[in-house]
Amino acid sequence: MKFAVVEFPGSNCDHDAYYAAKHVLGQQAEFIWHKDTDLRGADVVVLPGGFSYGDYLRTGAIARFSPIMARVREFADAGGPVIGICNGFQVLLEAGLLEGALLSNRRLKFLCQHVHVRVEQSDTPFTCGAAVGQVLKLPIAHGEGNYHADPETVAALEANRQVIFRYCAADGSASDAANPNGSLAAIAGVCNAGRNVVGLMPHPERACESVLGSTDGLVVLESVVSALAATGAA
């Protein structure tokens, strides 16, 4: 199975996603430069974290115009699994592949720390290996991860079960203190209506080896491997 890791100028978690896919999971992985116009037969597309275009103007705002994004959109429209992590999530929102927007963290400071998120839905290619209610310990590292959407959109996301990850305490309970950035409804990750495009602020690729303090991110990447294996894609 082949992971395509899209590299925008300023992406900086591209190597981390590549390493997790290739060296931890033992899958194929390939970098795709943002000016490329071909996903080269990828089975999964990863938009990695970082600061595409320096995060200037708004996070993800400029990257969404990169040539490769037209292919990513086609791939997503055809049902291919796409995951946007941190800055990649921001790009997917700007591109309209996911709904909502990300504002500055409520206390404005960049935050790098481990948080807990609850898996809210297990019928996406990136959560199918997890149980609903499972709590994952994952790192965040962002200054603008405060999820926002208008009330109707949030209601629709909830009704359609498109909220995939929610910040929570270690025991899975909800509390304002467990919400690191002020996200509406403690939303840490969402999917599209087709459920094949997922975006989240925490970094599962940073939590794939015990020496790094957590292996809870593995389930996200392993899910897509088994999801694709089940459909016979690779």
Binding site: G54, D55, F110, R206, C208
Partner: protein
């Protein structure tokens, strides 16, 4: 050239005379500007060079010593570690966010210029007292600036230190350390050679920013400094990220002869230094330099310190390869000149020569001063410490909590959680838990780093302060289980034209040199920042040592935390410390006095070797050295954040004078060469035997477990605190100054 112009360029009469001799004529204004920056303290090290020669720079692992953009040491597996520390003190005082950000940008360029991929950043910061709102704004801006740049470019900031003392109120210190890894055979150099080879400029356009930044860093501040501000440099981490990737990629082509960043003194320094290293001449035409502002003069272009710019020498005939790589990254390499055989730095403007200087005399002929030194008068007075005149502490438990909450000791989480310390997925020890540790993917090894320097010790005893700084940084690295293999240093001092400051400098350098020799840690480079004074008030003399350690087996890494209940706690080294220069004296009595405990370098070396040896053989579960706050603070630091592992220890009855402070010395006294370790009960005897073999005093003093921290002396409990109150004091000590509600 009229006298006021010469004076405005900071050249002394002798220096100007020397310039006239070199040129054999009056300089043009552009030439005067070039000499003035190249001969500034910042670029020429004219006051410090003589002393720096005493630092040991050789060792079996040294691949590159001082003289290049950064030093390098061999780390096995065909790899080298390239590292350096640099100051950005003056710019950070003027504009904290941008000053600190561009400091990070500058040191990163020094590393990738050498062909190394930067993998870790650390910083060492000093500010005035936190109760001053102006200081808090500075801290806030500096931390945000470091975060803004490092996070964006994607290099983890894995450690550092921050301290607060009134002496830094008018002159904060911002020292940034960066380390990169390169293949041993791919070390790039800042060197020009090959007559006719093209000179390329790449990166941001040149503006009027920071003109005379190097000269500014070579003068002290006064009440009018605000008016002298040159256009402040603004960092563009996005541009630097592109430059970093593109430069590393272009180096792979083999089409480059040399490469150097444009740091202090910009185009002037980079052209002149590269030509000097290759013993060639260089010629550029400033009209080809990409410019951001209209109407810039050759003088301004040569002296601009605009950020994110690189100078490259390509091999003739391979220009297309170079240009192509930069195009891929949307950067445009512009050819601005060529290497010549005549040994001159020649600057043209649309063909017309505006400066022509024999380059060797410019670069290597800078003045060298043996400035007078004189023992500072204050020393005799401040070294006196008569504790009998002080009130004895009433409640040692409360003092313990007060120390845990002192900003110098308290948790730095408010700072480091603003830094992305995990990007690149190599960080094995998170900030706050000990020295920074980063694994080297593809090998079994990890590198460990610590930056340390106690300005208070150095103020009270410069020579000892220098020795202590080396010992502490190396000990921190050894506590992680790593062998210290190299060091870099940043020497922050006041005005070198004052003999007392020069005395501090000379003695500190001697102390560093002696300790590095004894501990066999070569210095591969560094930076000197002088004139850190405002209105005649100098900072504490502050050397910051950045020590790099190599951990052969990354899985053996240790942190400060007690990982479990029922472990044996062993104290390596002597039981009690000294009160001179201690945090206790400052917190409990508001005093900075006495002499810091001296380091016995043989003992220190034995202790560090024991730590590395015992860690390698799996005899240790944690290790943490006794620093500010002494034994009691160290013990608490092994417990806080560990998820509730308390400890109960028993110290021997204190020796020393019976002056009501014997217990205080045991609990809060400071001394080097002391480490608190934990071990499994079944490993205890092996550990003790190992300590004996290394001639390191070791005593089993207690065990981990419970919800409290209890210290007894001679059978009686003398201090006890709950883990939760310890945690709270420690957590809030720094944070409370910045956040009303704790997130």
């Amino acid at each position: 050239m009229d006298q006021s112009t010469i004076d405005a360029h900071g050249l002394s009469a002798d220096e100007y005379q020397r310039l006239l001799e070199i040129l054999g004529r009056e300089p043009t204004i552009t030439e005067l500007g070039i000499f003035s920056v190249m001969w500034s303290e910042h670029c020429s090290y004219k006051s410090s060079r003589l002393h720096l020669r005493r630092l040991p720079t050789e060792g079996a692992r040294v691949v590159q010593g001082p003289g290049e953009n950064a030093g390098a040491v061999d780390i096995g597996d065909g790899l080298i570690a390239v590292f350096k520390i640099e100051s950005h003190n003056h710019p950070s005082f003027i504009e904290p966010y941008q000053g600190a950000a561009t400091g990070v940008g500058g040191i990163i360029r020094d590393i990738f210029t050498m062909g190394a991929r930067p993998i870790a950043l650390l910083n060492s910061l000093r500010f005035g007292a936190l109760d001053d709102p102006a200081t808090r704004r500075l801290v806030d801006g500096v931390v945000a600036g470091i975060a803004g740049y490092g996070n964006s470019i994607g290099i983890p900031t894995v450690g550092g230190e921050i301290a607060f003392e009134p002496s830094y109120a008018g002159n904060p210190l911002v020292n940034v350390f960066c380390l990169g890894v390169a293949k041993a055979d791919q070390l790039a150099k800042g060197l020009a050679s090959g007559t006719g080879n093209p000179v390329y400029y790449v990166g941001a356009k040149t503006g009027r920013d920071g003109i005379h930044g190097a000269t500014m860093a070579s003068a002290e501040f006064d009440g009018h400094s605000a008016d002298k501000r040159p256009a402040v440099q603004v960092g563009d981490p996005f541009m630097e990220k592109l430059l970093l990737e593109a430069c590393l990629e272009v180096m792979q082509t083999g089409a480059l002869v040399g490469i150097q960043d444009m740091g202090a003194a910009g185009l002037t320094c980079s052209t002149s230094e590269m030509a000097a290293r290759g013993d060639v001449g260089i010629e550029i035409d400033v009209s080809r330099v990409p410019q951001r502002e209209a109407g810039m003069t050759p003088y301004e272009i040569m002296l601009s310190e605009s950020q994110e710019r690189m100078l490259l020498i390509a091999r003739r005939g391979r220009e297309a390869e170079v240009e192509q790589v930069f195009e891929k990254w949307d950067l445009h390499a512009v050819r601005i000149g060529e290497v010549t055989g005549d040994g001159r730095l020649r600057v043209r403007d649309r063909g017309v020569v505006v400066a022509e200087i024999p380059n060797r005399q410019l670069a290597d002929g800078a003045p060298l001063y043996d400035r007078p030194t004189e023992r500072p008068a204050y020393l005799t007075e401040v070294q006196q410490l008569d504790v009998t005149a002080l009130p004895a502490p009433a409640d040692l438990s409360q003092t313990w909590l007060d120390l845990l909450g002192a900003p110098v000791i308290a948790s730095k989480r408010w700072v480091y959680r603003q830094y992305d310390h995990m990007v690149r997925t190599n960080t094995l020890v998170l900030p706050g838990l000990g020295a920074g540790v980063v694994r080297i993917k593809g090998t079994s090894r990890a590198l460990t780093f610590s930056v340390d320097g106690n300005g208070r010790y150095c103020y009270l005893d410069p020579g000892e302060g220098g020795r202590l700084a080396v010992a502490e940084a190396a000990r921190n690295v050894a506590c992680a289980g790593a062998v210290p293999i190299g060091a870099t240093n940043c020497l922050n001092f006041g005005n070198p034209e004052r003999p007392e400051i020069m005395w501090q400098f000379a003695h500190t350098v001697d102390g560093i040199a002696e300790a590095c020799r004894a501990l066999e840690i070569p210095i591969t480079g560094g930076n000197v920042s002088l004139y850190n004074e405002t209105d005649g008030q100098a900072i504490y003399p502050t050397p910051v040592l950045g020590v790099v350690g190599l951990l052969e087996d990354a899985t053996r890494v240790l942190t400060r935390m007690f990982p479990a209940d029922s472990l044996e706690i062993v104290l390596l080294g002597e039981a009690a410390g000294e009160l001179g220069g201690s945090e206790y004296l400052k917190v409990a009595h508001g005093l900075v006095r006495g002499r810091p405990a001296a380091v016995d370098l043989d003992r220190e070396r034995a202790l560090q070797r024991l730590l590395v040896d015992a860690a390698r053989d799996g005899l240790l579960r944690s290790a943490h050295d006794c620093a500010e706050g002494g034994f009691a603070v160290t013990l608490a630091e092994c417990s806080v954040e560990s998820g509730g592992v308390g400890a109960r220890v028993e110290l021997p009855a204190p020796a020393g004078p019976d002056d009501r402070f014997a217990l205080v010395r045991a609990l809060f006294g400071e001394a080097p060469s002391r480490v608190v370790v934990s071990a499994l009960p079944e490993e205890r005897d092996r550990l003790l035997a190992r300590a004996r073999a290394f001639s390191v005093p070791a005593s089993v003093i207690g065990h981990t477990g419970g919800e409290r921290l209890t210290i007894s002396v001679a059978g009686a409990v003398v201090a006890a605190i709950g883990l939760d109150e310890a945690e709270q004091a420690w957590d809030n000590g720094l944070t409370r100054h910045f956040e009303t509600a704790v997130a």
